[in-house]
Point group: C2
Chain length 329, copies 2
């Protein structure tokens, strides 16, 4: 790292991208040299105006070309989309420009699961350009996968992993409430699920990561999504939910190896969900269980996980996962 | 790793060393090629007889020379003593023989704290011989330091770390009960503390590790030890503890940086201690708290942490800490 810090570009200035940009500005070891968003309403605006904090004198660019050139040898922090197909052109462009990348893209947390060929190609491109690409966040990337893998260092061989995350959506932003189907009737929920409009992207990736991190195989991964119906009118929240309407969902991802279940992750996100928390339980010798009362706040922890990985990713090579990150900062 | 696995020597065949040896035998990626203990009662005995499980046909050696030669390029798992001075000759001998080392030695978890010069010399020797040396276990090495550092990946800058470990000593082995002063009167406890016979080695090391792993400074570390007096006769345990006698202790280690406390770790080990558990709490944005109900079992987790680090340490160079270990196995 030179005296000015690792050069960083932030791309995608939605809620999480803005939190990432603010955190980068606050870190002495990172230097924000570019801010990119393709949205017509943002391009050309001063970054500081958007962030509401003192910021470098940068204008938001619609095209990343100049920012990538300014950050060669540094890192792109990419917070635009959930699917690998959607972020792949930007990943490749950044890697070709000589930047490592840390992204919130959920599928990128374990891209071999759904996109083995594309992942292998991206890995080869990273090696060729001597940079690394990493997908992380709170979920996937931390709560139900990385923490589980780390916990496994204190046990013998792991027979089964159970992960549970319960999120009370009442205090979350409206975008999340749309993704959980709050206020829909059950039929509309199932239709929205068919169209891929409700549900959480990344739970299966977390399950595969946890299995890999704990030395378990990944022969097969399945996923199920079921609506949770409100038993009474919701106490609050930005979207009204009446008794009988959908308050959210429970999603389950399972990994099978050698014809038995080795990982089961259960994610509940609902308005007024009881006892929000994160739990990881390892069936092993000794058995271990870890609880985060209240649960790790998704958006803030995602921004932190991305920024905390920025320096570490410059020390790695290839398409990597959170399992490759060291424990220390 | 070749088809036979990484060659491993286990040295120190007390309770934990035997658990380490059993775990090595059970792992397909490790191959136990030597077992060493300087105790006169063990030397020459068949290892399998001591372990009570099917084991390679090895006799326990008093001198490590032949075992080190057989394991060149592999790993020594060393479970003999708590202080760096005590393990240093064996560490150096192993490193000179071309072995990496993972040890339960508590001071080795963060040897720069009490032995900066010796640590630097050991680091240089490791680099010269192209191997790595690591100290780990449950405490220090996992519960109050590594887990804290990992948790910090999901938050912004950390202002303060609080760690708490409460161990009910009733079900622990007699050696631990002697170390906690169970059954002594208060005066005898303080005298034993003066002689270094009671108390836990490694809490200050954990505190310094946690600070380092979370990007906090380590200007000063202090430690305090206070007896806990039984308010009623103990319900059970291998040593009788009557009302008014010492049931155990509370030990506190603190790290200061820029003239304020940045880490406070509190360890209580006592017969019939209430609500045994581990807790880590980070004062940060977002604030995060993690609980292990019941607490991580010390001996079993120490053996597991050592064995789980065996393969990873062969990928590292120099005198390293658990903060350098990746999340995945």
């Amino acid at each position: 790292m030179d005296a000015r810090g690792i050069p960083v570009v932030v791309m995608g200035l939605g809620e999480i991208g803005r939190a990432i940009a603010r955190a980068v500005i606050a870190r002495p070891d990172l230097e924000l040299v570019g801010a990119v968003d393709s949205g017509a309403s943002l391009a050309g605006r001063p970054l500081g105006e958007l962030l509401g904090v003192p910021a470098p004198a940068l204008k938001i660019a619609a095209d990343p070309k100049a920012a990538f050139a300014a950050a060669k040898g540094g890192v792109l922090l990419l917070a635009t989309a959930s699917t690998l197909d959607a972020v792949r052109p930007d990943l490749e462009r950044a890697v070709r420009a000589g930047l490592s990348v840390v992204s919130t893209c959920e599928e990128l947390a374990y891209p071999w699961l759904r996109h083995e060929e594309a992942a292998d190609a991206l890995d080869a491109l990273c090696e060729q350009r001597n940079v690394a690409v990493l997908g992380t966040g709170a979920n996937p990337g931390f709560v139900l996968d990385r923490l589980a893998a780390v916990l496994g260092h204190a046990t013998g061989p792991v027979r089964h992993v159970r992960g549970l995350r319960v999120v009370d959506a009442s205090k979350r932003r409206a975008a999340l409430l749309r993704k959980i189907g709050a206020g829909l009737d059950e039929d509309a929920f199932h239709e929205a699920a068919e169209r891929g409009e409700v549900g959480h992207v990344g739970l299966a990736e977390s399950a595969a990561l946890a299995a890999t991190g704990l030395g378990l195989g990944v022969d097969e991964v399945d996923e199920e999504l079921a609506p949770l119906v409100a038993e009474e009118d919701a106490r609050g929240g930005p979207v009204p939910v009446r008794r009988g309407q959908v308050a959210g969902f429970t999603q389950v991802a399972r990994v099978f190896a050698e014809e038995r279940e080795v990982v089961r992750l259960e994610l509940t996100i609902a308005v007024d969900a009881d006892d929000p928390r994160d739990e990881v339980e390892l069936d092993a010798d000794p058995p271990l269980r870890l609880v985060v009362p209240g649960g790790i706040p998704g958006d803030a922890a995602t921004a932190a996980a991305v920024v905390n990985a920025a320096a570490a990713v410059t020390e790695l090579r290839g398409l990597v996962t959170v399992l490759d990150l060291p424990a220390g900062r």
